[in-house]
């Protein structure tokens, strides 16, 4: 690997963004272990990309609002999208109704949690720790409330995940409004699968684990749902894996792609 190839193929940036194939990744690592110039560049590029994302999150970078609005309207005008959007809206309303109707009150939920705690960690763990609860239920972790944010309406975007095999063209899309604190991922599983509980794992585009939930129970209609903190869902593609657990063993139920777009 020489400097010309590195520049022409944008190797440094692709390395930092984890989009290089493994063989090229290894070749570039061998190169920058021997090359001060490339190591300095890969380090500053990592800082640069991290800083750009950080600045964009904090609203420091200018946003092209007119272009975004124009593209949004153009997308809406496409007939195929109108049909898909209408279908998704009907499904979201139906699922929303299902969940609101079935969701226990916070008091009932707390009581249920107390009852279920000893059973929840049936995947390789004997007893749940406070860390388990924080990791498995990020939305339930107490967080300091910013007075400015407290006045914003609570938004809980929801996406119904189709498996990779069954996914329609375009895959599963989740649009996250700027004020969303978390998003609900919903998966339909066949009722009566015989699993005691489910485990859901979320990976980023580089197959890097983002978060994991254990001890999830499906409801009577065979719907599994988890709330994922919006902080863990930047723009981009993700992979979701759902496992069923029974008697200390687990089995892959399905894989689901997910594309997140933040507004």
């Amino acid at each position: 690997m020489n400097h010309q190839e590195i520049q022409n193929q944008e190797i440094i940036e692709r390395y930092v963004r984890h989009t290089l194939p493994p063989a090229e990744r290894r070749a570039f690592e061998e190169h920058y272990f021997a090359c001060d110039e490339c190591f300095e560049q890969v380090r500053t590029t990592a800082q640069f990309i991290a800083a750009v994302r950080h600045s964009a999150k904090r609203g420091v970078l200018a946003e092209s609002e007119t272009a975004a609005a124009e593209s949004w309207w153009k997308a809406w005008l496409k007939p195929s999208l109108i049909f898909a959007t209408a279908a998704a809206a009907v499904l979201a309303i139906a699922l929303g109704y299902l969940f609101f109707r079935q969701s226990p009150s916070p008091r009932e939920e707390t009581a249920q949690e107390k009852e279920q705690k000893p059973k929840q960690n049936d995947i390789g763990k004997a007893t749940p720790t406070p860390e388990d609860v924080a990791i498995n239920h990020p939305s339930r972790t107490p967080e300091p409330i910013n007075p400015a944010q407290a006045k914003l309406p609570i938004v809980l975007p929801t996406v119904l995940l189709d498996s990779v095999r069954d996914a329609r063209s375009g895959g599963n899309q989740l649009t996250l409004p700027a004020n969303a604190a978390s998003a609900k991922l919903v998966i339909e599983v066949e009722p009566g699968t015989g699993f005691d509980s489910f485990q859901l794992q979320l990976f980023d585009v580089g197959k890097r684990p983002v978060t994991s939930f254990s001890g999830i129970k499906a409801n009577a209609q065979g719907v599994v749902a988890v709330n994922v903190s919006a902080a863990l869902l930047p723009n981009g593609k993700f992979l979701v894996k759902l496992y069923g657990a029974k008697g200390g063993e687990r089995e892959l139920v399905g894989e689901y792609d997910l594309t997140v777009r933040r507004q």
Binding site: A50, R58, L61, R208, N235
Partner: protein, 187 residues
């Protein structure tokens, strides 16, 4: 440390480490520790894990060099890369008790984002200041490309320019950013 030791070639370094020369070992560490740490940080997104991996990698590399396991000193960088990647894999497997890298359960909280591992508070402020000095269109480009992760053709359409121009803006902005950042962080 003697000045001449600091400028040893890889051949001399390897030869001296084989004779258990502590100064040569320190030079080897100085020369490669940042690379090992950066590689570990890129893979694990955890500063604590990266520290552990760095320490373990150098223990193994120096032990292997003392035992004369490196055939050609020209391959020293590749040799260290190999150890680094092995230690990273072992570390992840041991920590999360999984069988393969693709299937391990890795509880990453929101605190371990890319931003938090590659930026400290001071650097972050300096870089935000640098971003403010860019033109609005360059800022829009950066946002669309690195944050919204839009494809280049879509960015070109939104900014009303062709794709070749997008590539030019990207390389120029990155260079400009590096220059501003260097000036701001110069002691």
């Amino acid at each position: 440390m003697q000045p001449d030791v600091e400028h040893l070639s890889n051949q001399e370094l390897v030869a001296r480490i084989r004779q258990s020369d502590a100064e040569a070992e320190a030079v080897l560490y100085e020369k490669f520790y940042a690379r090992v740490y950066f590689t570990a940080l890129s893979e694990t997104h955890s500063k604590d894990d990266a520290e552990d991996i760095r320490a373990e990698t150098f223990l193994r590399v120096i032990q292997a060099l003392r035992q004369g396991k490196l055939r050609s000193a020209d391959s020293l960088p590749s040799f260290i890369v190999g150890f680094t990647l092995n230690v990273i894999r072992e570390h992840i497997r041991q920590k999360y008790r999984a069988d393969s890298l693709e299937d391990y359960e890795y509880d990453v909280t929101s605190e371990t984002s890319l931003e938090s591992v590659f930026l400290d508070a001071e650097t972050s402020r300096a870089l935000e200041e640098a971003a403010r000095q860019l033109k609005p269109r360059e800022q829009q480009f950066l946002r669309m490309y690195y944050y919204d992760e839009l494809p280049k053709e879509e960015i070109a359409r939104r900014l009303g320019i062709n794709e070749e121009r997008v590539r030019l803006i990207k390389s120029r902005t990155l260079q400009q950013f590096r220059d501003i950042y260097k000036k701001m962080t110069k002691p």
